[in-house]
């Protein structure tokens, strides 16, 4: 009887979930293979013009780490028709903003413009795609900028190299074993010829998606897209060498010394690729562990026992099988042994006990909230549309991905915990203050 009530409750919850505001969009391909996604929202006179390329740090060659991101910098500087710095200058001159990001799997560029400047955005993105200029001047300036970015974000920050120290121990073959920012030595070695080769291989319309959201008219936008992008030819088919990471057989335990005051403990487990059933289960497992103040790790480690000042669990959301990290930063005077025991017992609980219905519902509510809030801005929508298409092959996940989470049961989460949260499947890293 009780079970029946729970069932009814979850069905009602299900029907009221995520159905309220659909993100309408149109998508099509140009004859050169460029995928185009359009979303119209006329409430504010701004437009987001973005292009995403299916190339990230995992497509880099050994010895050329950091290249995809370095390329992103170079690709934002100059084209046949745009002088050095024009990408930035024209956008800001138009009252817009622009930026770009690179991750393991893709590179993303966007401009956020007043909507009467839509054409400027299309011109810039098409110049980047077809007429980009790579020369020594641009490469040398950006080399210093990228190295400075590495110093700023990684080398000069406490815990700033944590992710790369995890990656290098988690992966032996797969290119996820190096960080997106790359190594200083490899950044120093990149040549203009490398850029040319990379551009010709990956910066082709058939490897890209153009995602436009905001105050646009659909037909007029289609016409302009054809005008700016249609005249160029398709690029060669991209052959990707997919490297399979062999299964980890034994736990890796190691220590890193850093300029920090508080030690930290990180446990990184191999997990399946984004979009798989087990991925969703592991994603929810992380939310149960560490999303919100009532989550298990926050409540136990930070609040009740005060073993940690900070605790978290997240995954890399990677296209190929990746890793999921649980970590804690120890409170002053707490040893990593104590902290580790407490973290381990939360991990063991995930394996040994079914998550109670109410706690499970809480996480679904949090997911729903995050899902809806992610669509608050047109910049966010343009990015999500591009990403869903490029990495997941299904743009409409922007409306339906919630269902994937709703399909996960507490039993699935426990099964995933048993399957992936094994000692032999992880890297444990002790992050310690440098002895003085």
């Amino acid at each position: 009887m009780k079970k029946a009530i729970v069932l009814i409750l979850s069905i009602t919850a299900l029907t009221s979930f995520g159905q309220e505001r659909r993100i309408e969009f149109e998508e099509y391909k140009l004859s050169n293979g460029l995928h185009v996604i359009l979303h119209r929202d006329n409430s504010t006179p701004i437009v987001a013009v973005s292009s995403a390329y299916h190339v990230g740090s995992k497509d880099e060659e050994v010895g050329k780490t950091g290249f995809a991101h370095f390329f992103e910098h170079v690709a934002s500087r100059k084209s046949t028709n745009i002088p050095v710095g024009g990408f930035t200058e024209y956008v800001s001159d138009a009252g817009g903003s622009r930026n770009a990001t690179t991750n393991f799997d893709r590179t993303y560029y966007y401009e956020l413009l007043p909507s009467n400047q839509l054409e400027l955005g299309l011109w810039l993105e098409s110049e980047r795609m077809f007429n980009m200029v790579v020369d020594t001047g641009v490469v040398e300036t950006e080399r210093e900028v990228v190295k400075e970015e590495r110093r700023l974000r990684n080398d000069n920050q406490p815990y700033g190299t944590l992710i790369e120290e995890i990656l290098v121990r988690s992966f032996t073959k797969h290119h996820y074993r190096w960080p997106v920012i790359g190594s200083m030595a490899d950044l120093d070695n990149a040549t203009v010829a490398d850029f040319e080769a990379f551009k010709n291989k990956f910066y082709v319309p058939n490897n890209a998606v153009l995602s436009i959201a905001g105050d646009i008219e659909i037909e007029e936008t289609k016409r302009l897209v054809e005008l700016y992008f249609g005249e160029f030819a398709k690029g060669p088919e991209i052959k990707r060498e997919s490297v399979m990471e062999p299964q980890q057989k034994m736990e890796v335990v190691d220590t890193v010394y850093d300029n920090v005051q508080l030690p930290a403990l990180v446990m990184a487990y191999h997990i399946p690729a984004i979009g798989t059933d087990d991925y969703y289960a592991m994603n929810m497992l992380n939310l149960i562990l560490a999303n919100g103040q009532s989550s298990r790790m926050n409540k136990k480690l930070v609040d009740e026992t005060q073993l940690a000042v900070f605790a978290g669990a997240f995954d890399l959301a990677s296209e190929d099988p990746g890793i999921s990290l649980a970590f804690g930063v120890a409170n002053a005077g707490i040893s990593l042994v104590e902290l580790g025991d407490a973290m381990q017992s939360e991990i063991d609980r995930m394996k040994n006990e079914i998550v109670p219905e109410k706690e499970f519902q809480k996480v679904l509510n949090q997911i729903e909230n995050n899902f809806i809030s992610g669509n608050a801005s047109i910049a966010g929508i343009a990015g999500s549309l591009a990403n869903y298409y490029l990495i997941r092959g299904n743009t409409n996940l922007i409306n339906t991905e919630l269902e994937k989470f709703l399909a996960v049961t507490p039993q699935d989460v426990q099964n995933a915990a048993k399957k992936y949260l094994k000692d032999s499947n992880r890297v444990t890293l002790h992050w310690l203050p440098k002895p003085q």
């Binding site: 800001s92 413009l113 000069n156 508080l262 009532s294």
Partner: protein, 689 residues
């Protein structure tokens, strides 16, 4: 007829689609759309609470922001207690424990947070009633649990520890101290000892005094009708009782009369966090603030501004260089900043000061000015996508008594700023000669190069001025660690223990004549030293382990008492081992540059009470200088002996070049010609007759 028009329009459309695009030209903008500021409703409850409602149905969420408008406060010896107020309020009510609050907030996927001057809650609209239950419970019934405060204090201490390593946090501390002084609400720095002073009573007192509706704004933003919002405001916030709230006045901090270069050492830095800054008097909403906004955009407001284009784009010194000018009712500030490579700290400063000077001396070109305006107007337009922006406009309008049309006219007023006004406002507010130039980084690499910008002062990570030579010492370094490194460098403690005797032969030339010297030492502390010139013994000093004797051309003298104690120490083969063994009084005495390298000074108080400072190379660990102060005819003077060119003899390292002072002006160069380890020394060598 109408159809014909459509046909022509279609033809035109398809024609343009096939026409060749001129890619060499930047596309023209379509006619600009008007920037419309969304509507809002404003009303006041009987208790004085001012409510602002912005309706926006784009996503089914609603946010409630309660904001207190009070004067900034000085926290004295309890710095940081204000930052605990909100967290403690959110940590338990008379109805709910912290864990229950957390559980209920998370269950609806909401967020609920509080600070000393705000409470903020947001959730999907369908959960708004529950959210308001929780939010008002925190507002009206906080229970201030003692144990929760203890946790917050513990976390605060841990956070402060992390900040000790964060160059940006260090820079922030030092800057606030320098700009505003420690008796100003913006100039206080939180220290570990402050945390202990904070009690539940402090927080309760604050809550009772300041959480009053008559100094508060409530902004309701999102998927809600004005009618519902009114109902909610009355029902949930109408019975909140008003009360008198004190106001405070402060002295106006001012910019320094001349540039001050403030250096903070962080020896493991690979970058310098560089800030050029000073306090200013600029009020929010004033006509000057609009002109200053445009001027700053030209100078360093964004990635198309001069600082960025120069220091990142042109020089590649940094990942980003920016400036900001902030208006504030109490005191604002100007700040130009970048994290730059250590070795270009001085070059970057040159560029910052150059651009700051240029904006006040040269007219801004019309195109550049228009571009800056476009950036500001574009940003303004984009910000209107967020309904919270409309609410914050409404609150600012009330708070700073802005003109009713301040935001409606904002774009027009930005457009109206002239090149002349930019230059004038820069002359008032941009002060390349009255700034604090704050650099947090590896100061040994750039300290001397920074003197060109102004008086160089050194600070610790909390903004206290420190002795520059000590400031360069790396954190964690101790006198003991310096000595241990030295002992390791010259052979290692274990090896040194096996050392029984050392005999050194030396040569020096003085006034055209050659001198030979022989020095022998035997463990634990016997020594003999003989100086010969032309076959004659000029001087001989012997120490037999207890007493000493000096003889030479001037006669013979026994060495006893205090002097014998000192000689007993210097007769040890490596006297550093004795300092550590006997736990003698030693302390770090700063850093000196010797032969182009940093050397750490260790001051040693000899058994007789004399002070000697010995310098050890920061890299090799070798002893490179011994300095002592002696009484001379013109008063005390410092004499230094330098040691260099260390050479290995049977696993032990000895300097082979010495520079010994003869008097204040003259030094004698001594070269070591031979070192014999554990030689059989004649038994009577150290004998004193």
């Amino acid at each position: 007829m109408k159809n014909t028009y459509i046909l022509i329009a279609l033809l035109f459309l398809s024609f343009s689609a096939f026409s060749q695009l001129d890619r060499s030209k930047k596309p023209e903008a379509a006619p600009a759309k008007e920037i419309k500021i969304g509507d809002y409703q404003k009303f006041e409850l009987k208790n004085g609470l001012k409510v602002i409602v912005v309706e926006n149905k784009k996503i089914p969420r609603v946010a409630f922001s309660l904001i207190l408008d009070r004067d900034p406060l000085v926290e004295g010896d309890k710095v940081g207690y204000l930052s605990m107020v909100g967290q403690l309020m959110r940590s338990g009510t008379t109805n709910r424990t912290k864990s229950q609050l957390d559980e209920e907030v998370d269950f609806i996927g909401a967020s609920l947070s509080a600070s000393s001057s705000s409470i903020f809650g947001s959730s999907l609209t369908k959960h708004q009633n529950k959210l308001l239950d929780l939010m008002t419970d925190v507002l009206y019934n906080p229970s201030f649990p003692e144990d929760e405060l203890d946790k917050i204090k513990k976390q605060t201490v841990s956070g402060l520890k992390s900040n000790q390593d964060d160059p940006n946090a260090i820079s922030g501390n030092v800057r606030s101290r320098l700009l505003y002084g420690s008796n100003h609400p913006y100039g206080e720095i939180q220290l570990e000892e402050h945390v202990e002073n904070i009690s539940v009573q402090d927080i309760k007192d604050y809550y009772k005094t300041y959480f009053k509706p008559n100094i508060a704004y409530l902004a309701i933003v999102g998927d809600i009708t004005v009618k519902d919002a009114k109902k909610i405001a009355k029902a949930r916030f109408g019975k909140w009782e008003r009360g008198d709230v004190p106001t405070v006045k402060y002295d106006q901090p001012s910019a320094p009369e001349k540039n001050i270069v403030a250096l903070v050492n962080r020896s493991n830095s690979v970058q310098t966090v560089l800030n050029v800054n000073y306090p200013i008097d600029l009020k929010p909403g004033s006509p000057e603030s609009i002109q200053a906004r445009v001027m700053n955009q030209v100078l360093g407001g964004g990635s198309a501004s001069r600082l960025f284009l120069n220091i990142r784009g042109d020089k590649g010194f940094t990942y980003g260089a920016y400036s900001s000018i902030s208006s504030d009712e109490l005191v604002g500030n100007f700040n130009a900043s970048a994290s730059v490579r250590t070795e270009v700290t001085d070059s970057s400063t040159v560029e910052f000061l150059y651009e700051m000077g240029r904006i006040g001396s040269e007219d801004v070109e019309e195109g550049e000015l228009q571009q800056a305006k476009n950036v500001i107007i574009g940003g303004f337009g984009r910000s209107l996508e967020r309904p919270q922006t409309i609410a914050s406009f409404a609150i600012s309008q009330e708070r700073y008594n802005l003109d009713e049309n301040y935001y409606n006219n904002y774009v027009k007023n930005i457009q109206a700023v002239t090149s002349q006004e930019v230059k004038e406002i820069a002359n008032t507010y941009i002060k390349p000669e009255n700034a604090f130039i704050v650099a947090v980084g590896k100061t040994s690499e750039f300290a001397d190069k920074m003197a060109q910008f102004g008086e160089v002062k050194h600070y610790d990570i909390y903004g206290n001025e420190v002795d520059p030579s000590l400031a360069k010492l790396p954190e964690g370094l101790t006198a003991e660690s310096v000595l241990n490194k030295y002992l390791d460098a010259v052979g290692g403690k274990e090896n040194l223990a096996k050392l029984n005797s050392v005999k050194m032969n030396m040569e020096a030339s003085m006034m055209g004549q050659t001198m030979q010297m022989e020095a022998s030492k035997m463990a634990p502390n016997k020594s003999v030293m003989e100086v010969k010139m032309g076959g004659n013994v000029m001087q001989k000093i012997v120490f037999d382990g207890n007493k000493g004797k000096a003889s030479g051309m001037a006669g013979t003298k026994m060495i006893e008492g205090d002097d014998a104690l000192d000689l007993a120490l210097t007769s040890s083969i490596f006297e550093e081992a004795v300092y550590l063994e006997k736990e003698m009084e030693i302390r770090l005495a700063g850093v000196e540059t010797i032969e182009g390298n940093d050397a750490y000074g260790v001051e040693v108080i000899s058994p007789s009470g004399k002070s000697v400072t010995r310098y050890y190379d920061s890299e090799s660990g070798f002893l490179v200088r011994v300095t002592n102060t002696v009484d001379g005819p013109q008063g005390a003077m410092t004499l230094s002996t330098d040691f260099s060119d260390y050479v290995e003899y049977d696993g032990y390292f000895f300097p082979t070049k010495l520079k010994q002072p003869m008097n204040a002006q003259m030094k004698m160069d001594i070269s070591v010609t031979e070192v014999i380890i554990n030689a059989e020394l004649p038994a009577d060598l150290f004998k004193i007759e």
